[in-house]
Symmetry: C2
Subunit: 140 residues, 2 copies
């Protein structure tokens, strides 16, 4: 992965943002420093950097993807009206609900544990055994 000015500035701005921006929102910000950058470059780099683990891609709730420069494991809460995402730094096991409301300022409406993994069908397709492909065949 070459270090281009686009990549560097994208990362820098994302890390300073804290607002979990969408690709387009970050694009608007970065354009101020790199007027000729294209949205496609933003998408390509965000995708690549998230694959590299440098940033995190947030794909909750059927909304637009958002990105986070903070890669520590932490929970998020998203607004069902406007889509904003805020951080929730909660210790596991504690009374999550109140911690969530306290640390985010959100009014909690719903919480769902979202599990991800490899389904039995896909497990049988895996060559080695311990890898987690990221895309693949379409669901049946």
């Amino acid at each position: 992965m070459r270090m281009t000015s686009q990549r560097e500035i994208l990362l820098e701005e994302l890390k300073k943002l804290k607002s979990h921006p969408t690709a387009d929102e970050l694009y608007q910000v970065v354009k101020k420093r790199l007027p000729r950058i294209s949205l496609a470059t933003v998408y390509r780099n965000l995708e690549q950097m998230s694959e590299a683990g440098i940033i995190k891609k947030l794909e909750y709730s059927g909304r637009q993807k958002r990105f986070d420069g903070e890669v520590h494991a932490h929970h998020h809460i998203h607004c069902i009206r406007c889509g904003r995402i805020a951080d929730v730094h909660a210790a596991k096991g504690a009374d999550l609900r109140s911690i969530v409301e306290d640390t985010s300022g959100f009014r909690l409406v719903e919480d769902q544990v979202e599990f991800s993994g490899i389904c039995p069908e896909c497990q049988s397709l895996l060559p080695g055994g311990a890898e987690n492909g990221k895309e693949g065949s379409k669901a049946a």
Copy 2:
């Protein structure tokens, strides 16, 4: 909400499916019984029925929306390769991870608690006080 044959058959097929189908997948199934139904009708009805609480819309993980004819509260696990969704019937508080793997057959890769609520900004825009709009202004 009028009971049209489209609506009736859609609901019937969804309830029998158990596979958390996407709109298009359900469309393919229903087309066998209603060859002239259109995808738009499927989308419109799924949306309406989920608003009515008759079915549940699953909007996890930045993928295509999926729908569930089972409206009991229960968790889901989705495959990061193919997108399939399976049910997880787990008692809260128990050792979720192993329950998840046992009941779903998936290999668990990640679990994230997804909180939804109303952000402070949107709370201040709410007229009454205790409602949960579903869409709204764009994120800033």
